[in-house]
Structure formats: C-alpha cells, structure tokens
Amino acid sequence: MLELVNFYLLPGLVLGAIYAMSATGLSLVYGVMRFAHFAHGDLMAFGAYAALAAVDALGISPWAAIPIAAAATVPVALAADALFYARLRRSLPAVLLISSFGTGLMIRAGLYFVFGPTQTGYGMGFTPPLVLGALRIQVRHLWIIAGAAVAALALHLLLTRSRAGRAMRAMADDPDLARITGVDVAQVIRLTWAVAAVLVAIAGVFLGIDTQLTPGMGFNVLLASFAAAILGGIGRPWGGALGGLLLGMAEELSSFPLIGGAPLLEPAYKTGVAFAVLVLTLILRPQGLFRGM
C-alpha cells in the first residue's frame, strides 16, 4: 500500500501537475483561437532549455531560473502568432494546426542546433527524500506540486478577478459577441499566448527537474497534453487541469504490479495510456468531463 503511494501515486501527482499546466494552456489557446496548437510541446521544451541556459550561464538553481524561462518563452509564442498564425486567422482551423506543426518543428530544430541531441539535466545532484512516517517524498516533487498549485491559483484569479481574464473567457464563449462589447481581440489573443507560454514553460522546467531534457521532450508530451485537454473538455482550462492530473496518475499507476509481480502495462508502453485515455474519451464522453466546445 505504501509502495503504491510512494512510488506510483506521488510520482503520478507530479507528472499530472506537469500535464495539467500544459493542458490548461492548450485549452486556453483552443478556447480563444479555436485551433489545436501543435507547437505547444515544443514551447515546453523551449522553456526547459531556456532555464538550462540560465542555470549554465548564471550558476543559479533551476527553480530560480523559472522566471527567466517564462520570460524567454512568451516572446517565442508571441512571435509565432505575429509572424504566422495572425496571417492565417481567417483560414480554416486545420490550416492553423498545420502551421503550428511547422512552428513546432522550427523550435525543435533550433533546440537541436544550439543544445545538441543528447540528454542533459540541470545537474541538481541527489537529495535524500523527506521521510514523513512511512511516506517518502522527494523534495523536488513537493516543490513541483506546490508550484503547480500556485500557478493554478494565479490563473484562477486572473480569469475570474481581472478584466483581461474575463475578456479571455468571454472570447472563448463567443468571439463575435466579445467584439461587439468592445473587446480588443488582438490584445486578448496576445494575453492568451503569454499566459499559455508561461504555464507551459514552467511545466517544461518542472519536467526537466523531474526527469531529463531532450529537444524532443515536448513533442513526447504533446499527445498527453491533448489527451488531458480533451478528457477535461477542450477549451475549458479547469477541465484541462483535472484531465492532466488524472492522466498523470493513470500513467504512473499503469505500471503498478497489481496482479502477481508483473506491471499492469509494460513501462515501455506508458505513452499508450494517453492514447487509451484519448480513445476512451472519444468513445464514451467526446465532450469531455467539463463539456468542452
């Protein structure tokens, strides 16, 4: 039982928190701009590597590099929008999707070019886990969960208490009506990119802290992010957050040896959990838990 909590549930919560931040941004972008942003994973990798550059150059800890990573990722998202997506705004959502695929490839190529293809890390060294009775928890895991909770709270306040956040929700509800009420659509779109980029950059640093960095790391979590967003109900940020948490737990629990000594699912196929969740959602509840758009 304790093994379940220590080695499966807690790591699942950590992975879930990372997916949640990614899926929330994905859902926000989908809600406001109505297209599936396929470069989202690569933005995440960009954030992780931006933090790596700061760690290497300034000798700071990756936690301290989070604001730098976020600040570096926002302009990339804004540039992709200004250079490419803004020019395609009147096209079909599919065209924007293909364009974002191209953006993702460009970001990934840039990371490969600068940092090379090999795995790397923030070099944090080993810290012994906290022992709370029978519970053993990695300190970095605690920080990741706390960080995700703070990010969720900040997003909640932004969306419900601020004028700009309300405008984002209004755009997601009905873009035409938002225009009639005088919302500066271009400004809301920029804000949405900024929020999504900050969230996904933090998720990237967290993922780098929890595991390793590779330029392809973002593309690898893209499927999970989408599965989480669709499970939650696409366009609904809180749905994305919940979907991310559930999916992260499901992925870790999938390798739990429930029956006999063998894991439920070979760890090599962990990615398959996201796909299975996606397929089951599409079959059983295509609008997602929170009734997406």
Binding site: R166, A167, R169, D174, R179, I180, T181, G182, V185
Partner: protein, 234 residues
Amino acid sequence: MALLEVRGVVGGYGEADILHGVDLDADAGEIVVIVGANGAGKSTLMKAVAGLVRIRAGSIAFAGEAIANAPAETMILRGLAYVPQERNVFPSLTVEENLAMGAYARPAQAAAGMARVFALFPDLVQRRRVAAGQLSGGQRQMVAIGRALMLEPRLIMLDEPTAGLSPKFCALIFERVQAIAREGVAVLMVEQNARPALAIADRGVVLAMGRNRATAPGPALLADPEIGRLFLGG
C-alpha cells in the same frame, strides 16, 4: 439632422447583396421599429450599422460622423450598442460578469452602470452570480439588454428582443424599451411581434427585398390596411 442617418446602403454577406439601397433615421429618445418579411434585410441592416456586415455603397452617419465599415469593436465607444438576436450573452460568465463585459471599454463606469441595470431589471439582482447560460430566455434577454446599456449608449439596437418569450415577458421587455427611450436613448428594434412593437414605435420602417417599402409613425402603419395585409399577417 438625425442621430443615426443611413442613406442608400448596399451590402450583404460575401458576394450576395441583401440590402439594395436602404434609408433609415433614428433620433434621440425615439423608438424605431423595423418590420418586414423573412429575408427582407432587417437583421442585415442592423448588423451593417453595427459594423458586422460590410457595406459596398451608401453611407451611415452617427452623431454626424461617418461610421460605415468601422470595426465592430469601436462602436460601443461611439455610443452605439447592439444586442444580437441569438447568442447575445456569454453563457459561462455570470450575470454580473456579463454586465461587466458591457463596460469593458470603460471599466470605471462599471459600478454605476450595474446599478442602473439592476434598477431597470430588478429580477437580475438575486441571480447576479448565476452563469448566464443557466437563465431562462427572458432573463437572458434582460442580461443582454443590460449589457448593452452599461456604457449609457446613445443608440441601442435590439434584434428581435422578444423572440421565443412568453407574453408576460414580451410586455415587460416592451415596457422597459419605452423606459429606455424616455431617458433619451434612441432605440432601433427589429420585431417579429410587429403589432405590439409598432404600437409603441415613434417611427415604423417597412423593408421588402432589401428596400424601403414604407416609413411612418408606428400607429399609422398599423392603421394602413395594405401594410397590414402584406406585412403584418392580415
């Protein structure tokens, strides 16, 4: 010179013109009701004034300023508010948040605007924290009209405000429309419920096939047997 002056407007969606040269005036404090058969161009005319439909010829002046084809998001700051027929509230936002969106362009006026709207539609007060998507049709219409009134517009355009409402709510909406006009706001209204609407109209405009068919005070149109037979269902 009238507050709103529409002259010879030609336009529509894509290649197809729906309006073939329409004129329209509305003065401060006046209720103007547009009637006509389906496809006559009533809603399109309103959308053209609101900046949502491009016009290819003609002119639209508001308070002496040319506003034809100005971006829709700038209209509210000119004092011109528009309530579409459907999808006229943000369903996932609460009543209060919907009203706050009405003051998006001038947040400083939100508190005062909300007080006025709640005075006009007291039913909304106790539902202020309910998501607009969960309201009844009549209450939703109140939220939509309230949202449009938040920045004290000089002209409010209502596209079929009573569509699908019970007779009780219809009467309430018409009564409130008169109250709004008494404050000096010009009200431009498209109505399927043509008879009760024309009864309160200072000016009735009959459109047919994208052209003006007749313009007269509402009661005079009601009294005209030919108009009644052709456009008001006998």
